[in-house]
């Protein structure tokens, strides 16, 4: 029996087509995934992301623990509420999960993926040995992502009492108000908020947003939006066998200070040296654009003439650009062209730098 979020009845009311997603009954779309995608790029859309796992980290060793656990360094978080994106690596430098960590008032809040919840909690708990920390899951908090150029304005209209707090948020910062938590983060490449709400209050909040003109958007639109924004999806674009260096996550590794011995550091340093010594063996993440008909899909083979082969990790039709785009792992020597094996044919594609779309505009 799949789990349901506190918004399940609202999804049915809005004609959501429900699918199983990591053990949860979630809406894939409410009619048209493309319309929902466009609503987010042009106005405002909202996603139920209550299935994601919130884990609060408290205790005198919370900072030291996260500095060991994560490839990025929470010491970079100076201001309360500031957030950091990081990989949580295994000893071999593979990605166990990607997550967001918020610096709270003397503690931290992390948000990890739902599909990796059990192994994440097990790993986080195992690594906490020797640190004076507590890990507390917060399943009683629902989460709604309101995204798009009008998202912030419409949330302020609905939650007038939080308008001042929302106005004070910098990009990638979150603040609490009672049990509610407003964060200026997202997974779409648009401005907007991710809001944690006590379960008992979330259906009313969702209805108020709906009445204010925010379009409900499903997991389908969430995927095309994040892909256009060049954001990784765990399980597609990286996993435990892939290092952040091969998945476009090099910027999330805090190499300095050199004495910070985070999990996976030794393996990453060895990999870095190996990449420098044998660049022709190394892989990197790129964007692909298909200017002719057809849609690139994950696991399709990429052939780079004279250089080698790679693989598409995520591919879709881009509703904003109206042709197919993909993220791929290819040899470092790949220049601006490649071939993609699609349905038995090799089709030429253009290699571009990610992202494809940010704030409604083409980026490459």
């Amino acid at each position: 029996m799949a789990k349901q979020t506190a918004l399940y009845a609202k999804h049915l009311e809005a004609n959501g087509k429900i699918v199983d997603f990591g053990g949860w009954d979630m809406p894939i779309h409410y009619g048209s995934q493309i319309q929902e995608h466009k609503a987010v790029r042009e106005q405002a859309g909202m996603f139920d992301v209550s299935h994601m796992t919130i884990v609060d980290v408290r205790g005198p060793d919370a900072t030291a623990y996260l500095q060991k656990l994560l490839a990025n360094d929470v010491a970079k978080l100076q201001e309360t509420g500031k957030a950091l994106y990081s990989g949580m690596l295994n000893n071999e430098g593979g990605v166990i999960d990607d997550l967001i960590v918020y610096k709270m008032d003397g503690w931290y809040r992390t948000v990890v993926n739902c599909s990796t919840r059990e192994k994440d909690l097990e790993w986080m708990s195992r690594q906490s040995k020797g640190f004076e920390v507590s890990l507390t899951e917060r399943p009683e908090l629902a989460m709604v992502a309101v995204q798009g150029p009008k998202a912030i304005e419409l949330v302020k209209q609905v939650k007038a009492d939080a308008a001042e707090l929302i106005d004070s948020l910098k990009i990638f910062q979150g603040k609490g108000k009672g049990e509610w938590f407003y964060a200026r983060t997202g997974y779409t490449g648009e401005d907007g908020l991710e809001i944690m709400v006590p379960e008992a209050e979330v259906a009313e909040f969702w209805q108020q947003l709906l009445d204010a003109g925010v379009a409900p958007a499903g997991l389908g639109a969430r995927d095309t939006l994040r892909l256009e924004a060049g954001m990784n999806l765990y399980g597609n674009d990286m996993d435990e066998s892939i290092s952040p260096l091969q998945a476009g996550m090099g910027w999330t590794i805090a190499w300095e200070p050199a004495e910070r011995d985070f999990i996976g550091r030794a393996a990453l340093e060895a990999e870095k040296a190996e990449r420098a010594a044998n660049p022709q063996q190394a892989l990197k993440q790129v964007g692909l654009v298909l200017e002719e008909r057809g849609v690139m899909r994950s696991h399709q083979k990429v052939v780079v003439d004279g250089v080698g082969e790679g693989e598409i990790t995520s591919g879709t039709f881009s509703p904003s650009l109206e042709y197919s785009i993909a993220m791929a792992r290819v040899p470092v020597g790949t220049a601006d062209k490649c071939l993609v094996e699609m349905r038995g044919k090799l089709v030429p594609a253009r290699v571009v730098k990610l992202p494809f779309v940010r704030n409604g505009k083409q980026q490459f």
Binding site: I34, G294, R297, F317
Partner: protein, 127 residues
């Protein structure tokens, strides 16, 4: 609930078949099929004049979610294709039994029509 018009015939690969007055047939994909696919973004049609076998894959419909082959439900010759789908593939979602027909065929053997499913049998196949 999926719309399954009683006057049409069906195959389990989710194409519908309409027998026209002149003995030719018109073929498209069902409401159930379009709902499963989600937003359709590309359609690839067969060539007019092509001789095809029953169950041969002769067209492709590609949605945001997946690519899916379209099969000739019966043996015969392609006599017309709906070029409008190339520029407005979203019609497949909006009007699967009307404007979004895929192709028309002249049958090799009119008796083959007896092998098709009626609406009730197709509805059962979609369960």
């Amino acid at each position: 609930m999926s719309n399954i018009p009683a006057e049409l015939k069906y195959v389990t690969s989710h194409e519908w078949i309409r027998l026209e007055a002149d003995g030719t047939v018109t073929i498209g994909i069902t409401d159930f099929a379009q709902a499963q696919l989600g937003d359709v973004v590309f359609v690839e049609l067969p060539e007019v004049g092509a001789e095809v076998e029953a169950e041969q894959d002769i067209a492709v419909v590609e949605s945001v979610k997946a690519a899916s082959d379209i099969y000739a439900p019966l043996a015969g010759k392609i006599i017309a294709v709906n070029d409008a789908l190339v520029d407005t593939p979203e019609m497949v979602n909006e009007d699967p039994y009307g404007n979004a027909w895929f192709f028309k065929m002249e049958l090799a053997n009119a008796d083959d029509l007896n092998n098709l499913l009626d609406a009730d049998a197709y509805a059962a196949a979609c369960e």
